[in-house]
């Protein structure tokens, strides 16, 4: 590719790789450009134009589907821009390069008594990726999405122009680029508000619930007082037990609750041991999980977890580190390989419908029933409560989300997509939405139905203004946006 022949003292670092969605069910070969500065981001746009290829923006690659998968030959990956440019320990305001990960952020600020306002279930996303997706945490119902915690950012447009956006300046772009999945420009600098914490621990209570209704009632009763709420659901259980599961309800500690915050606020206190049961290396745990990665195995694991949850629910509240509570899955490296490590074999998709409060119970019960009927039962189901926000393409509704992990088996892939199509119809008819950080199945016509018309039109106009030649695109853009943006 010509990119490489443009040699000189300041060539952008690049590498030819296989770039895939986190769920491993979609990907392609591409040349990945790794700029180290805003000037190099501008250079990447010029390189793409010269090479005649579009450019896909990518952070840590933690989107399950195709949100950061290239449509053509070039990817711009911001992970080398990972410096914390500043942190004010009086106000908790962090100024970050776009490639700083949630991990780096919390490790930097926790010893100073701060924690990010919003984190995802994994700490590996970059702040650019997090902002582009407008991620939510287990506290979405209380504090909104990460966009609500963002004070300002610089957006580098394909023309090379850098626009500073906040709630006053370029407010349109501010509300469109957050949740805009890297379609408008590249974040070059991000300013975030973080929150003060008085301990490195949270107090967690387990509550076992016998069905979906019980789970929802608990959330509703506690959402005014809890700091974090998350529900796990055993998707294999049917009949009266449909939606049975376990809630984790967590509270931040107040000043003085923790007798030795200087100890719990250290990074060392947050880390889990490298070996499980003291001897088994974590790096190999996925091989054990792989043994159970089939319907029968996962049915047993879900059932066992439910029983363990009933016991936990009878116990006392306990303390858990912020990182342990927020990112538990990260402590099993590459657990997704349990779904098949070799390329092209398997993988997983996450299907996460967001459904308004009033109809959520019925829609989710119907979804679970149809999955069981189709013989494609999600291996993991996670339940969260959300609230509305002001970002144009936001997924968040005043209601619920139910994240369902489906195994992608090549032999059943077409059937799985068909099932998802049916579920999508159900969700959209009920006024629900989807979240492109997870999605791999929704089409352009669906997007145009579930997002508000006026916002879509405004977004399309901004896209045409910011990127008139469509230099930035990825597979997600082609799948779910291009048709109606071009129209």
């Amino acid at each position: 590719m010509e990119i490489l022949s443009l040699r000189g003292p300041r060539t952008v670092e690049s590498s030819f790789e296989y770039i895939e969605g986190w769920g491993m069910a979609v990907g392609r070969h591409a040349r990945v450009l790794r700029p180290r500065s805003v000037e190099e981001i501008v250079q990447c746009f010029a390189l793409a134009r010269a090479a005649g290829s579009t450019l896909t923006l990518r952070g840590g690659g933690n989107s399950y589907g195709d949100a950061s998968c290239p449509a053509q030959d070039l990817v711009l990956d911001v992970t080398r821009m990972d410096r914390v440019l500043g942190f004010d320990a009086r106000t908790g305001i962090a100024t970050l390069e776009p490639g700083v990960t949630i991990e780096k952020l919390w490790k930097t600020i926790l010893p100073l008594g701060f924690w990010p306002r919003v984190v995802s279930g994994t700490m590996f996303p970059t702040l650019a990726g997090a902002l582009a997706a407008n991620i939510h945490g287990k506290n979405n119902f209380a504090v909104g999405t990460i966009g609500d915690a963002c004070l300002e950012f610089d957006l580098v447009l394909p023309s090379g122009e850098v626009r500073t956006c906040n709630r006053e300046r370029n407010a349109d772009l501010f509300h469109a680029a957050i949740g805009g999945f890297g379609m408008l420009g590249c974040f070059g600098r991000i300013v975030l508000q973080t929150k003060r914490v008085h301990s490195g621990n949270v107090r967690v209570r387990g509550e076992s619930t016998r069905d979906l209704r019980e789970m929802m009632a608990y959330f509703e009763a506690h959402k005014a007082t809890s700091d974090y709420l998350v529900g796990w659901v055993d998707c294999f259980a049917g009949g009266d037990a449909c939606g049975r599961g376990l809630i984790h309800d967590a509270h931040n500690l107040h000043e003085g609750d923790d007798p030795s915050p200087e100890r719990s606020l250290t990074v060392a206190h947050q880390e889990l041991p490298a070996n499980i049961l003291g001897l088994f290396p974590k790096s190999q745990v996925w091989r054990i999980l792989e043994l159970f990665n089939h319907d029968l195995g996962m049915r047993s694991i879900n059932a066992a977890k439910y029983v363990a949850g009933r016991l936990e629910g009878m116990g006392e509240p306990y303390l858990q580190s912020h990182a342990g509570f927020s990112f538990l899955l990260d402590y099993v490296p590459n657990w997704k390989w349990a779904y098949g490590r070799a390329r092209g074999e398997r993988g997983l998709i996450q299907y996460q419908p967001f459904v308004p409060q009033a109809v959520a119970h019925d829609v989710y019960s119907e979804i679970l029933a149809r999955c069981r009927h189709a013989g494609q039962v999600p291996y993991l189901g996670v339940f969260k409560r959300h609230r509305e926000d002001s970002f144009w393409l936001t997924h968040a509704v005043d209601g619920w989300s139910f994240a369902l992990d489906f195994k992608v088996d090549p032999a059943r892939r077409a059937a799985l997509w068909k099932l998802c199509d049916e579920l999508t119809e159900l969700v959209i008819s009920a006024g629900g939405r989807f979240y492109f950080a997870k999605d791999l199945v929704v089409g352009a016509e669906d997007t145009a139905r579930f997002l508000p018309q006026d916002r879509l039109a405004a977004f399309a106009a901004l896209k045409r203004a910011c990127d008139p030649q469509t230099l930035i695109e990825g597979q997600l853009y082609r799948r779910a946006f291009r048709d109606w943006i071009a129209a």
């Binding site: 993988g347 799948r479 779910a480």
Partner: protein, 269 residues
């Protein structure tokens, strides 16, 4: 530049490239393919229906090879001294093939050096081809294979890397370096399902051997390049780590490795 066909009408996105099967690869690159084991490997792979990009300095020899192999071989002229050209060329090869499952580095030179000759130019040139080129190419393959979590790397080293013999100090050094490098890659990539196979040929009928004979060395018991190629593919597909070709050299190597230095000094091997 190759662009995927637009499949946006159906909203099922492009799926993964077709599965790389564990044993039988379908797309291969062989660097150092114009003669000897490299050429034999290209012929063997092409005859099994594998699509191969064959690279070497000598375009004419490569084109002759491609003709012999029918449609499965793409011939590209490349001098492995040109490290800077490798990333773009590697990308071009993979795009033309439509994927990659097997990478073979078979380029190597052995320059004759006299018993009392210490010629830095000659020595550095062997390092450039045997090690520099190997690293430049194999690093690219390693990056791709790690990210796609599949693929096999084969490096053609030599029995000469087992001990520091007096005959050609730097040739042996290049092979020892290559062994070390390949072993390290194997350990790095094992968690990603990528295999690295080090081949250590003894006597194989190649141009290198012919030139050694021309220098008056008597060499017996060599196997043909074709036989070597078959053993190499068998070893790679069997996910073997280090293999001597022909097999009997395993024993020879074991003996050579264990001769104490005090004795080794006096031996004429």
């Amino acid at each position: 530049m190759a662009h995927a066909t637009d499949a946006h009408a159906a909203h099922e996105p492009a799926t993964q490239p077709e599965p790389a099967r564990r044993v039988r690869e379908r797309h291969a690159i062989v660097v150092g393919a114009s003669s000897g084991m490299g050429a034999a490997l290209v012929e063997q792979l092409a005859s099994e229906g594998v699509r191969v990009v064959a690279l070497a300095r000598r375009k004419d020899a490569l084109e002759e090879l491609a003709r012999r192999c029918g449609g499965n071989v793409i011939a590209l002229a490349h001098d492995v001294h040109d490290f800077d050209a490798v990333p773009a060329l590697f990308e071009r090869c993979v795009r033309e093939l439509g994927g990659l499952d097997l990478f073979v580095y078979a380029a190597g030179i052995m320059t004759e050096v006299g018993a009392h000759e210490f010629d830095t130019r000659k020595d550095l040139d062997m390092l450039a081809v045997n090690v520099g080129g190997a690293v430049a190419w194999t690093n690219e393959a390693a990056k791709l294979f790690r990210t796609q979590r599949s693929g096999t790397i084969v490096g053609i080293s030599s029995i000469a890397g087992e001990r520091g013999r007096k005959g050609n100090p730097v040739y042996g050094t290049t092979k020892a370096a290559l062994n070390h490098y390949l072993e390290a890659l194997r350990n790095r990539l094992a968690d990603y399902g990528v295999h690295v196979c080090t081949i250590k040929p003894g006597f194989v009928e190649t141009a290198m051997l012919a030139s050694a004979r021309a220098q008056g060395r008597s060499i017996q018991g060599a196997i043909s390049a074709q036989a070597a190629a078959r053993s190499i593919l068998k070893a790679a597909r069997g996910r073997r780590n280090e293999v001597f070709v022909p097999f009997k050299w395993t024993l020879v190597a074991a003996v050579i490795r264990n001769i104490p230095s005090v004795l080794f000094k006096g031996l004429n091997i």
